[in-house]
Assembly symmetry: C2
Homo-oligomer: 186 residues x 2
Amino acid sequence: MARTSASQPPARPRSVVEADVRDDAAPAKKRLDLFHFMPFRLNRLAAEVSSALSSEYQARYGLDIPEWRVLATLGFRSDPCSAQYIAHCTRTHKSTISRAVSALMEREIVERVENADDRREFRLRLTRKGQALYEELIPRLLRKEQEILSCLSAQERRDLGRLLDKVEASLDLVQTSEEADAKDVY
Amino acid sequence: MARTSASQPPARPRSVVEADVRDDAAPAKKRLDLFHFMPFRLNRLAAEVSSALSSEYQARYGLDIPEWRVLATLGFRSDPCSAQYIAHCTRTHKSTISRAVSALMEREIVERVENADDRREFRLRLTRKGQALYEELIPRLLRKEQEILSCLSAQERRDLGRLLDKVEASLDLVQTSEEADAKDVY
DNA sequence: CTAAATTAGTCTCACTTGCAACTATCTTAA
DNA sequence: TTAAGATAGTTGCAAGTGAGACTAATTTAG
């Protein structure tokens, strides 16, 4: 695990493109180390964490990620909600949610009831079987999460959570202004 | 941004499934708030950050993520390296890297030279055009990264980096023991 | 009341990607 | 030297997914 843990010197990517004018004092970053590049790190970390978790919900219960997200959303909320809502709050495409819901209904984990007020939309909720699955799965996943985070102290976990909060919040703003579409709803 | 930041009220739906043997001192988390669940947060954040960056390399330069990873790896290293190496250190499947390399060769961004020592493998490197592209792209991406992280203080960024270091390191261990395959090489 | 616009959900299409088979090459051992 | 096994890279195939068209239902405007 030889990861050049180079502590970012207080230098910023000065100047621009071609000009290789850099001096020791303010080194222009002309190269980019993927291992220190946050977007790459996040992607890789997310993929690895997902894969570590998938053994719980995928291998054991045959759920894929979208299905797990539906299950998690319905299980967390006490009242039934629409597919649209799940799509919004998990930020998953509605067609993906639609397919996940179909699969879960097939397996009788989720059921839907018509909404008399608006017959385009269905209210989704867990069946008893779905509830049982949810309650069996949750402790496993939480344990796995703790296992992954066990390398951090309690304080560090709080710190990490807080830092992610900030980045998330800031991204939401950025995105809303850039592609203000279906993001504002939830 | 109404995110149910609900600090898990101490009231939980007891009852269901089997053993509910926990007491208040050690509250059994029977529900799981996706928004506080680290794997979900990482996935979502990584996706959003990627999408924020893709405007730089995708829309502007027509690179997809695997292609960008190849470019980044070759641009960072001073000496040519194999596709295998890129696959290992970016943790991307070799077939994906293979396709990305093909596309980049097609566009004359990457070229490969035979390795006389081992004619199965090719040494990959950026062409002059590839170098130029790399050097034009890097400042943009670094700027974007800074933009995304601008919600954090310098100290907080260091903290975040350090926390991710720890989690990454711990995951590498976990994975190596669990699925010790192509991970150990790099 | 009717027409246009909007919304929930489904479905088809195109694209991406991981897997695994395959080729070519190299290594090891008999 | 030859055969078996490993390795680098490519490719066919199948599964998953986002975009966007489409249907049905609702809302809004005239």
